[in-house]
Amino acid sequence: MIGKLDSRIPSGPIEDKWTQCKFENKLVAPANRRKHKVLIVGTGLAGASAAASMAEQGYQVKVFTYHDSPRRAHSIAAQGGINAAKNYQNDGDSIRRLFYDTVKGGDFRAREANVYRLAELSVNIIDQCVAQGVPFAREYGGTLTNRSFGGAQVSRTFYARGQTGQQLLIGAYSALMRQVGIGAAELFTRTEMLDLIVIDGKARGIVTRNLVTGKLETHLGDAVVLATGGYGNVFYLSTNAKKSNATAAWRAYKRGALFANPCYTQIHPTCIPVSGDHQSKLTLMSESLRNDGRVWVPKKQGDKRPAAQIPVEERDYFLERIYPSFGNLAPRDIASRAAKRMCDEGRGVGPSGQSVYLDFTDAINRLGAETVAARYDNLFAMYEKITDENPYKVPMRIYPAVHYVMGGLWVDYHLMSNVPGLFVLGEANFSDHGANRLGASALMQGLADGYFVAPYTVGNYIASEKQPVIRDDHEIVRSTLAGVKAANDKLKSIGGKTPAETFHKRLGKIMWDKCGMARTDAGLKQAATEIAALKKDFWNDLLLPGDSSTLNSELEHASRLADFIELGELMCRDALERKESCGGHFREEAQTAEGEAKRDDANFCHVAAWEYQGDGKPALRHQEELKFENVKLAERNYK
Amino acid sequence: MTTANFPRLRTSVGKKFLISITGLIFSGFVLSHMAGNMLLLVSAEAYNKYSHALVSNPLIYLAEAVLVIALLTHMALALKLAMENRAARGVKPYRPTNGEKSTNLGSRWMAQTGLLIFVFLVLHLKTFKYGAHYEVTYGGQTMRDIYRVVFEKFHDPLYVAWYEFSLLVLFIHLRHGISSCLQSLGIASSRNPNLQIAGWVFAVLVAGGFAIQPLYLMSLGGQP
């Protein structure tokens, strides 16, 4: 293994760790920064904010996105909001409470020190975004307002209508484009990272493909920062964007970076249900809807009456019933599983019986349709466009869907992977959400990592390392490039009969059925067999028209899918080895009498970090023990 | 007039500014012209005296100079923008060319209506300002009998038809032009309903005012 599994958590009380870390960090003098090149892959919240901040500091920044513009990154689609411990609502919030809620929300599977830092930085993020002109929602007096989100009993979520992710991303994008405009950052659009260049055990560059011309290129630097998002599309149907993929992270894994907790996936409870085989993606309905919407199913099995004809006493408002203190705002994993149990009991609604109601009738009666519209109109309109049903008149129907992955490349406190010089930010790393992420925390993490953590820790790395100059003709640079070319040629040469799309749907079905909301020992073993067969079929029967020297979305898809298949294998393996339930990982063998997740702290209070051992060989499982010194390990209770 | 020395005016927004200002100058002119011509409906003497007062005032040369410069600026910049716009868009039309989201006629035909108005203007000057020269004397003062020129022309059905057609074109140009000028000058959005109404009212007032004049004179019948 390259490097060590050393979390590098600074000593001292948790409140002082980040201050201590920043103080201990070595610095690069302003005049010297321009001599150092940082390669940043991805332009979502984490990537764009890191690229802007490091260019502002004076580093030579090269930033890469496979989109036509940095602004298309999928952070843009986050709807509900961003958490920050500002305590503007005077409801008892604090950094420590946000820290506590996040650790508990993550079912005690996150690293305390990272989470504390996240909570600490949350307040700076809001300040920074407001200074950039992000139009957050406000009170009439001109101060910022908040809404409530799942897993918290305080109101700490800042929002910009239902488009918070968009507004935050545009803020980070603007900051980045300002640096691009003055030449401090160099932007490569329609450029996809296909490999990591590791020399002397350190990350020194990347291989990219120009998606328009097909040209393969190498880019070298002092550090590589991956901010490439999550891998939810391994399930084919998810709320991720169509192009979201695991390729950059997966190729880094194959170069020695450890992959942590790949099985931790978040199933979001409020998505628009699947309507047919043609479905290409699932659309999320913001968690914020659960502030005013009430979730229910009929008490009777197979009750096919329209919602309006079912009297209140024959309805089961199951979240309010089971989790009275959090009610409809129970955390995502809990709410999703509750919805699944209702459907499994035969009480689901809609044509397929695979959905539950999210009903705004009471809110409309209480607040008036106008107030409800002011809060959610864009979401209601989106729902109506997709389903052709008006949520002001009939209750929305929702069902859980894959939304986010807590797993990702293993990083230490500095957000550096075990490969020195390879930093991983945002959803692409594993660090802050444990086994379940609370709503409105992904935006917080992406921006904390990009604006406030990486600019310090990458600088420390650069200051600490004396790097030899590497040129394009270096043997390893050339061989890595040649490897990418060979891999693309191999895909092209299969000459089979089945399009990538078909394989992807097949993979998605295996993953959803056997490594989705509920997992079993037998199911996961079965999934491993099925994926192995799928992998074989893929490499024997892939049909890939077009050539690789032009824009070719089929080639892009196939290349990403090849990685998804391998990642799917690892996810099942990780899920199989983690013989406990925690957060988004629910093993049917490990549940309480009420069907809640049952952790096994004695055996699994650790991070599983997987090391690649070569093609066809099983990955090696490493463990990083998690210590809880500030939050007491306890059963997660939202009742 | 060139904008070469004013780099900021050379931007697309700057050109639109100049086009708008000159357009508004001309709008003011046509409005006052229309109002003055209402004297046609009062009497020959009133109209001739008004006309004489105008042309004998030395400030008329300044006013004409302003109008000529405004006209040339308006046209030159509008043509330049029209060419730039054509280049920006390319020639390939969409199929079909008029989808549900396409826009009102006036806004798409400003260059064409503008050119027609220019043609009208040249002919109009030739017909009236530089047309037949009759004289008339009121109280010992001899002056041009412009009323007679107008009266003759407005009894020629072909001429009146062309005149009314030109006013329709002017109406279309003004209807979009007024609100568009105010939008280009940043005063208000051209989608502002009040501004839309203002555009309509102005265009109806000017074109309508002019339009009734020949109709009234024709209704009088007889010869001058």
Binding site: S69, R71, R72, S174 | V13, A88, P96, T103
Partner: protein, 248 residues
């Protein structure tokens, strides 16, 4: 549903392009327009033909990737709708549908329905930001912004940068795009110190990219999937006029 598609196919920027006819059967009215194109592509790929290249990503109407002219309408016939949110139930069974790329000189065609919209990014790079480095920010609530003003700023900030305004405009003007950003940043006090520079730099870049000027036709407003108002262009013009008289 049965459909007859006429799709613009073009192999590269300098290559000639043409409409190619495709017949599709078994289209569900619940499909989105992009899912209908997915179906077409799957059929083409199965036949060993090259897929139609079109931009798409989030399929939730927010990333601004999708960009196609559908029967002469940017993003199709519905107002306030991006192509990904357009559903086939909007079309009649047996309909013929023309699908074309955005057409504008500053948006060269890359392939099929995919165009290069990087000119829009370059406009932003010239001034579509507030110059505040990370770490410089004061406490968020020290800047009070009235609720209505914040909402008004949001209207411009809601732009998704899809380029439908340019595609719709007979002049290929980027005025609505540019003005939406200028208007957003002119409304919030944080944006005030560099208002003059911003409007001048962004307008100059808009021209340099070869976009046409605004004829106030309102086609952009009709085409905008976020229903951004023409009022923003008036505000941009106002900002531009103001820039002559202020010092920064």
């Amino acid at each position: 549903m049965k459909l007859h598609l006429r799709v613009w196919r073009q192999a590269g920027p300098e290559k000639p392009g043409k409409f190619v006819d495709y017949d599709l059967d078994g289209i569900s009215p619940d499909m989105s327009f992009l899912e209908m194109l997915d179906t077409l592509n799957l059929k083409l790929v199965r036949q060993g033909e090259e897929a139609v290249e079109f931009e798409h990503d989030c399929r939730e109407g927010i990333c601004g990737s999708c960009s196609m002219m559908i029967d002469g309408n940017p993003h199709g016939p519905d107002r306030g709708t991006a192509t990904c949110q357009l559903h086939m139930r909007r079309f009649a069974d047996g309909a013929t549908i023309h699908v074309e790329p955005w057409r504008a000189k500053p948006f060269p065609i890359i392939r099929d329905l995919t165009v290069d919209r990087s000119a829009l990014d370059r406009i932003i790079a010239k001034g579509g930001f507030i110059s505040v480095n990370t770490g410089n920010a004061p406490e968020a609530n020290t800047t009070l912004i009235g609720r209505d003003l914040a909402e008004a700023a949001f209207e411009g900030a809601a732009c998704i940068g899809c380029g439908a305004c340019v595609a719709a405009c007979k002049n290929a003007s980027a005025s609505l795009f540019t003005s939406a950003k200028i208007s957003h940043l002119a409304k919030v006090p944080q944006g005030h110190p560099e208002r003059k520079h911003r409007v001048q730099a962004m307008v100059a870049q808009m021209d340099a990219e070869g976009f046409g000027s605004c004829s106030n036709t309102g086609a952009c407003e009709a085409a905008c999937p976020k229903e951004i108002k023409l009022e923003n262009i008036a505000e941009m013009n106002r900002e531009w006029a103001r820039s002559f008289f202020v010092r920064e």
